[in-house]
C-alpha cells in the first residue's frame, strides 16, 4: 500500500502541477496579467460582489402587466384582422375581462368564417402537448370567448424574457459600465451583477422602463368634461398626461389634488418605437434638452403621411402608457427625424434615448432584490479576511508541526497544496468566490486537517500496540481511510442536496465544498502518503510521531 508505482507518482505530481498553474493567474495583479501574451490561458477566480464591491439587482417580470398587454395586443390583432380582411366581419361589444377577450359577431351567418379566421390567430401548437396558445369558444351562437392557455403564456413569457435579457444587456452596455453579468434565472427573473458599480439608481431607472414608444393623434373632438368622467369617443382612449400644459381645451384638468390631467387619443398608433433606428439626447433651437430620433424608411413614410394630413392638429408622444408631450404639427415632418421635448434634464433625456435605442422591453421588469456593496467595504472585508486567514493557517501549521513533527510537515505541505488546488479548480470553472464560499473553504480545510490528525493518531496507536514502523504507517492509513471516506461522502451528499434546494449563497457554499472535498482527500490522504513512502525509501531508523 505504501509502494507507489512510477506512473502513479507521476500522475499525482502532474495533477498538482496542472492545478497549481491554473491557480497562478488568480494571484497575479491585473496589471501583470495584462502584459502576458494572448495565447497564455488565464483562468481566474472571480470575487463575488460581497467581497469586491458592486451592485446586484434581481429583476422580476410583472406577470400581471405582461398578460394584460398580451391580451390587449391580441384584441387589436383580432380587430384589425376582421375589419381589414375581405370579406369584412363586423364585430362588436369587444371587451377584456377576467383574463380573456370576448366579442360578438353581428351577423350570425359569419360565425363559421369568423372561427376559421380566428384559428389562424390562435397560434400553432406549442410545447410537448402541442397545445394552442389560445382557446376559442363560442357561446350563445354569436359570442366568442378567446382565452390564453397556460402553455401559450409560458412560451410567450419565455420568449419575452429572452428578448428582455438582450435589451437589458444593450442598455447596460450603453451606460459604458464594465463587465456586467446578466443571467436569466427561473421562468421570470433576470439577475444583473455589475462589479464596481456603486450607485445603481440610474441603472434601475433605466431597466425599469419598458420604453414602449408610440405616436398617436389627439382626439380634439373629445369634450374635457367627458374625459374627466372617463368617457372617450368611439375609437379613442383616455391616457394620463402628468405634465399637461394648462389651458388647452381638449385636456381634462383634475379638480381634486393628486389626480393627473387626462387626454383623449385616437386608438390607432401612427408609428411605434419599433420603427426607430436611432435616438440621442440633444438641444433644440431654444437650448432646451430634447431627445432626437430617426425613423426607419417605413416609419418615416408613415410619419410624413400622417403629419401632412393633420397639419395644425396636435399629436401625442407616449412612453410607457404616459403622455410625454402633445405638440401641434406646425408643418409636415418629411425627413424621418423628429424631437421629443417635455421638460427633460440632460440625464433623463439621455436615459430615455438609451432606452429607446436599445428597443422596447417586452415585459415590465421590477426590482425585487438589490444589494450594493461599496468597493471600500469590500476591500476592508478582503483585507481583514486575509489577515485572519493567515493567522488561522499559521496556528494550524504550528499545532500540526508540534504534534506530529515530520508527519506534521507533510500535512502542512498537503494543506497548502490543497488550498492552491481549490483555487486552481475554481479558476478553471471560472467560479465566483463569495463569503459563504469562504465558509466552504474553512470546512474543507477543517476536513483536511482532521484527515491527517486521524491518520497520524492511528499510526501512534498502532506503534503503541507494538507494530513495526512500516506496518504501523500502513495500518494507520488503511484504518483511518474508512472513516475519512465516510465523512467525505456524507459531506458530498449534503453539498449535492444544498446545491439542488438551496438559493444563492447556499449554492456558492455547496460548489466550493464539493471541489474542496475532492482535493482535500487527494492531498490529505494520497499526497501525504506519497511523501511518506518517499521518506521510507531512505530507510529511516526512527519514527517519531
Amino acid at each position: 500500500m505504501l509502494d507507489f508505482p512510477k506512473w502513479k507518482i507521476w500522475s499525482v505530481w502532474l495533477t498538482i502541477l496542472v492545478f497549481t498553474l491554473c491557480a497562478v493567474p488568480s494571484f497575479m495583479p491585473q496589471s501583470v496579467r495584462a502584459n502576458w501574451p494572448g495565447w497564455v490561458p488565464q483562468p481566474t477566480v472571480n470575487l463575488g460582489l460581497d467581497l469586491a464591491g458592486g451592485s446586484y439587482i434581481l429583476l422580476e417580470a410583472d406577470m400581471f402587466d405582461f398578460s394584460r398587454v398580451r391580451l390587449a395586443a391580441k384584441r387589436d390583432e383580432i380587430e384589425t384582422e376582421f375589419r381589414r380582411q375581405d370579406p369584412r366581419i363586423d364585430i362588436g361589444d369587444i371587451s377584456l375581462r377576467d383574463n380573456r377577450i370576448t366579442f360578438m359577431v353581428r351577423d350570425a351567418s359569419q360565425v363559421d368564417a369568423a372561427r376559421e379566421r380566428l384559428l389562424t390567430l390562435a397560434g400553432s401548437g406549442v410545447g410537448m402537448t402541442g397545445q394552442r396558445e389560445w382557446t376559442i369558444e363560442v357561446r350563445d351562437s354569436t359570442r366568442f370567448i378567446v382565452t390564453p392557455t397556460q402553455a401559450g403564456i409560458a412560451q410567450a413569457i419565455d420568449q419575452a424574457m429572452n428578448d428582455a435579457r438582450e435589451v437589458v444587456d444593450r442598455r447596460i452596455n450603453a451606460l459604458g459600465t464594465l463587465e456586467p453579468t446578466i443571467v436569466r434565472q427561473g421562468a421570470d427573473r433576470i439577475v444583473v451583477q455589475v462589479p464596481g458599480l456603486q450607485d445603481p439608481e440610474a441603472l434601475k431607472a433605466l431597466l425599469g422602463k419598458t420604453a414602449r414608444l408610440e405616436f398617436k393623434l389627439v382626439d380634439i373632438t373629445a369634450n374635457p368634461a367627458d374625459i374627466a368622467r372617463g368617457v372617450a369617443p368611439i375609437g379613442s382612449e383616455i391616457m394620463p398626461y402628468p405634465d399637461a400644459p394648462p389651458g388647452i381645451p381638449y385636456i381634462a384638468y383634475p379638480t381634486q389634488e393628486g389626480h393627473q390631467p387626462q387626454i383623449a387619443l385616437k386608438r390607432q398608433t401612427i408609428v411605434s418605437g419599433d420603427q426607430l433606428i436611432n435616438a440621442q439626447q440633444e438641444y433644440n433651437q431654444n437650448q432646451e434638452v430634447v431627445v432626437g430620433f430617426t425613423f426607419d424608411a417605413q416609419g418615416g413614410r408613415r410619419f410624413a403621411q400622417t403629419t401632412q394630413q393633420n397639419t395644425g392638429k396636435p399629436f401625442a408622444i407616449i412612453v410607457d402608457g404616459s403622455v410625454i408631450s402633445a405638440p401641434n404639427i406646425n408643418e409636415p415632418i418629411l425627413g424621418g427625424r423628429g424631437q421629443i421635448s417635455g421638460g427633460f434634464t440632460v440625464e433623463s433625456a439621455n436615459q430615455l434615448a438609451i432606452a429607446l435605442r436599445s428597443g422596447k422591453m417586452p415585459v415590465q421588469l421590477n426590482v425585487v432584490e438589490e444589494s450594493t456593496i461599496s468597493p471600500e467595504l469590500g476591500a476592508e472585508s478582503i483585507e481583514k479576511g486575509i489577515i485572519a486567514g493567515i493567522v488561522g493557517t499559521a496556528a494550524i501549521v504550528v499545532l500540526m508541526l508540534l504534534a506530529y513533527f515530520r508527519f506534521g510537515i507533510y500535512a502542512n505541505i498537503a494543506l497548502v497544496v490543497n488550498v492552491i488546488m481549490i483555487i486552481g479548480i475554481m479558476a478553471l470553472f471560472n467560479a465566483t468566490l463569495t463569503l459563504p464560499g469562504i465558509a466552504g473553504f474553512v470546512l474543507t480545510i477543517g476536513a483536511a486537517v482532521d484527515a491527517n490528525v486521524l491518520i497520524n493518531e492511528r499510526i501512534r496507536e498502532e506503534l503503541h500496540r507494538g507494530r513495526a514502523n512500516n506496518a504501523a504507517i500502513e495500518f494507520g492509513y488503511k484504518e483511518a481511510s474508512r472513516a475519512i471516506f465516510d465523512a467525505n461522502v456524507t459531506n458530498v451528499i449534503a453539498a449535492f442536496i444544498m446545491f439542488i434546494f438551496g438559493a444563492g449563497p447556499v449554492r456558492g457554499f455547496a460548489v466550493v465544498l464539493t471541489i474542496g472535498i475532492v482535493t482535500s482527500v487527494f492531498t490529505a490522504v494520497t499526497f501525504t502518503r506519497l511523501m511518506v513512502s518517499n521518506w521510507l525509501k531512505t530507510r529511516p531508523k526512527e519514527l517519531v510521531i
Binding site: 460581497d50 434581481l58 456603486q198 445603481p200 434601475k204 425599469g208 421590477n366 426590482v367 425585487v368 432584490e369 438589490e370 444589494s371 450594493t372 456593496i373 461599496s374 471600500e376 467595504l377 483585507e383 481583514k384 479576511g385 485572519a388 488561522g392 496556528a395 494550524i396 499545532l399 508540534l402 504534534a403 506530529y404 463569503l435 459563504p436 465558509a439 466552504g440 474553512v442 470546512l443 480545510i445 477543517g446 476536513a447 482532521d450 490528525v453 493518531e457 501512534r460 496507536e461 484504518e479 474508512r482 472513516a483 465516510d486 465523512a487 456524507t490 459531506n491 451528499i493 449534503a494 442536496i497 444544498m498 434546494f501 438551496g502 438559493a503 444563492g504 449563497p505 447556499v506 517519531v544
Partner: protein, 328 residues
C-alpha cells in the same frame, strides 16, 4: 524532543457513567433553546423577511436619535438605526413596504437622498433590499436545503452502518441545529442566508465527528464480540479522544482568529461555527452514543460475510434444505 501529546496513551475515562447527567444537560439545552426560539424568536435578516438594510459611513460621529427621526419621517414605519463598528458607522433597517415590488427600491432611493442632503460627507457603504416575495422563497429554500441535507446524510449512515447509527446521527444533528438556533435567538445576532451556510458548515464538522466515533464503534463491535456495549463505547471514545482533542483544538484556534481578526460581516458566522464545534463534539459523544445504547446495538449488529453465510447454512440444515453448493 517529544511530540506534543495532549491526551496520554491508555487513557481510560468512564464517559458513559455520566450519560444520565449528560442526557439531562442535553434535554435542558434543547428545552432552553426552543423556549428562546419561541419567546424571542430569531433576528431574521432582510434575506428572509424582506425590507432594506443600508449601511452608512459618516464623516463624523452622528446623533443616532435625530437620524432615526429623519428615517421615520419618510413614513415607512418602524425603523432600526444601529451603530456598529466605529461610532461613524450606522446600519439603517426598514421594514418591507407593502406588496408593491417597486416600493422597496423607492424607499432605498429616499434614504439615500435623505442621507446625502442632511449629512455632507456621508458615504453609503452598502445597500441591500429584498422584496417580500423573494424573501419568502429564500427562507423556504434555505430551510429545505438544511432539512433534506440532514435527512439524506442520515440515510447514508443507515446504509453504511446500521439503522441505529442513522437515527443517532440524525438526532445528534438535530440537537446541534436546535442549540445553535437557540444561540442565535439568545444573542439576537442576525440570522440570514450566510448564517445558513454557517449552519451547514456546523453540520459538516459535526458529521465528521460522529462518523469518526461511529467508525470506531463499528470496528470494536467486530473485534470484541463479548464486550458489553457501555464499556465498548467508552473504549471507542477513549481511543478516538486524542483525535477529537487535536482536531477541535486546531479548528477552534483557526476559527478564533476569524472571530477576533476577521471582517465584521462574518463575525456572527465565525462565532456560530466556533460554537458549533463544541456542540458537535458534545452531541457525538453523548447524543449519538446514547441512542446506540437506547436501541441496543450489540455485537450481533455487525457480522462478517463468512459468519452470515455460516449462519444461513446452519439454518438451512436445521430445516432440512440443502443448497446446490453443498452437493458433492
Amino acid at each position: 524532543m517529544r511530540p506534543l501529546k495532549l491526551v496520554p496513551d491508555n487513557v481510560n475515562i468512564d464517559w458513559m457513567r455520566w450519560r444520565h447527567i449528560a442526557t439531562a444537560i442535553t434535554v435542558a439545552m434543547v428545552v432552553v433553546s426552543i423556549t428562546l426560539l419561541v419567546m424571542r424568536g430569531l433576528n431574521f435578516g432582510i434575506d428572509f423577511v424582506g425590507g432594506q438594510n443600508i449601511r452608512v459611513t459618516f464623516s463624523q460621529q452622528v446623533d443616532i436619535d435625530s437620524l432615526r427621526m429623519r428615517v421615520d419621517s419618510l413614513g415607512y414605519g418602524e425603523s432600526t438605526v444601529q451603530q456598529f463598528g466605529s461610532a461613524r458607522e450606522v446600519a439603517i433597517r426598514m421594514p418591507v413596504p407593502g406588496d408593491d415590488p417597486e416600493a422597496t427600491a423607492r424607499a432605498v432611493a429616499q434614504v439615500r437622498a435623505m442621507v446625502e442632503t442632511n449629512y455632507p460627507g456621508a458615504h453609503i457603504a452598502s445597500v441591500e433590499a429584498v422584496s417580500g416575495k423573494v424573501s419568502g422563497e429564500l427562507f423556504q429554500k434555505g430551510a429545505m436545503a438544511l432539512g433534506f441535507a440532514m435527512l439524506a446524510v442520515a440515510i447514508y449512515i443507515w446504509f453504511r452502518f446500521e439503522w441505529q447509527f442513522g437515527v443517532g446521527a440524525l438526532l445528534a444533528l438535530a440537537q446541534d441545529m436546535i442549540v445553535t438556533l437557540g444561540f442565535f435567538a439568545a444573542t439576537q445576532l442576525e440570522f440570514n442566508l450566510n448564517t445558513v451556510a454557517a449552519l451547514l458548515t456546523i453540520i459538516g464538522y459535526s458529521l465528521n465527528d460522529k462518523i469518526v466515533i461511529f467508525d470506531r464503534v463499528r470496528e470494536n463491535l467486530r473485534k470484541y464480540r463479548k464486550m458489553e456495549i457501555i464499556p465498548l463505547l467508552n473504549l471507542s471514545i477513549n481511543e478516538t479522544l486524542a483525535r477529537t482533542v487535536m482536531t477541535s483544538l486546531t479548528l477552534i484556534t483557526a476559527l478564533a482568529a476569524l472571530v477576533i481578526l476577521g471582517p465584521d460581516v462574518i463575525f456572527g458566522f465565525s462565532l456560530a461555527m466556533l460554537l458549533g464545534i463544541a456542540i458537535g463534539t458534545w452531541s457525538s459523544m453523548f447524543v449519538g452514543n446514547g441512542i446506540l445504547i437506547q436501541f441496543k446495538v450489540g455485537p450481533g449488529s455487525f457480522k462478517s460475510e463468512e459468519e452470515k453465510a455460516a449462519e444461513a447454512k446452519e439454518q438451512a440444515k436445521a430445516t432440512g434444505q440443502v443448497s446446490f453448493k453443498d452437493m458433492p
